[in-house]
Amino acid sequence: MADNIMVIDARGSFCPGPLMELIRAIKSAEIGQVIAVLSNDSGSKKDIPLWAGKAGQEFIGVEAHGEYDEITVRKVR
């Protein structure tokens, strides 16, 4: 298991940019990698969990940081 969290700073990126950046990162990441997406696009916190369910990846959670959300997933397959 990878302990270190990979952070994708997608703040300023418009829908569906943050999700697309996450998908790109997931493709090259190792299984077990935890990835946190920083996004100020309001669609991301709905789209990313939905995508994770569909893609069979583990959605860990959303943390609101005022101006932006931190959405965390783990690559499990």
Partner: protein, 138 residues
């Protein structure tokens, strides 16, 4: 059974109508679906090399947005070409150009952005669209 495929006939050349084409294609790829795009008339003209950000905005809305192409570029919002390029990198997207429009306007494949795969006829596209669950005319 229907394929998880969304097909789009892109006729419009107005920038505000073209942006959703890229967004919908990206969303479909994100959700694991295939995307097939048929570019015809003004939609094809918008994918001539370097043309996208010069395309007009729908007349009713133009006064609200001013120079949309400039705004998009200033805010670093990807235009249709970059959105489709990303979608193609991440999933199964095929973009074809209407042969009739190519002939009408004297265009060659090399006049178009490199994300356009090939020239095709409408019959083939209609057959492709038939296999999918959703077809949009934009």
């Amino acid at each position: 059974m229907d394929k998880e495929r969304i097909s789009m006939i892109v006729f419009s050349g107005e920038m505000d109508k073209l942006l959703p084409v890229g967004i919908l294609a990206s969303g479909a790829i994100a959700m694991g679906q295939e995307v097939r795009i048929f570019l015809t008339f003004w939609g094809l003209m918008a994918l001539r090399k370097g043309a996208f950000f010069q395309m007009p905005v729908s007349p009713s809305f133009a006064p609200m947005v001013g120079d949309l192409g400039k705004t998009l570029q200033e805010k670093k919002i990807p235009g249709l070409v970059d959105q489709l390029r990303t979608a193609k990198e991440l999933g199964d997207v095929e973009i074809v150009a209407c042969g009739m429009t190519m002939d009408l306007f004297g265009l060659k494949l090399e006049d178009l952005e490199d994300i356009v795969d090939r020239v095709a006829g409408v019959g083939e596209f209609i057959e492709t669209a038939k296999e999918g669950h959703t077809t949009l005319f934009i």
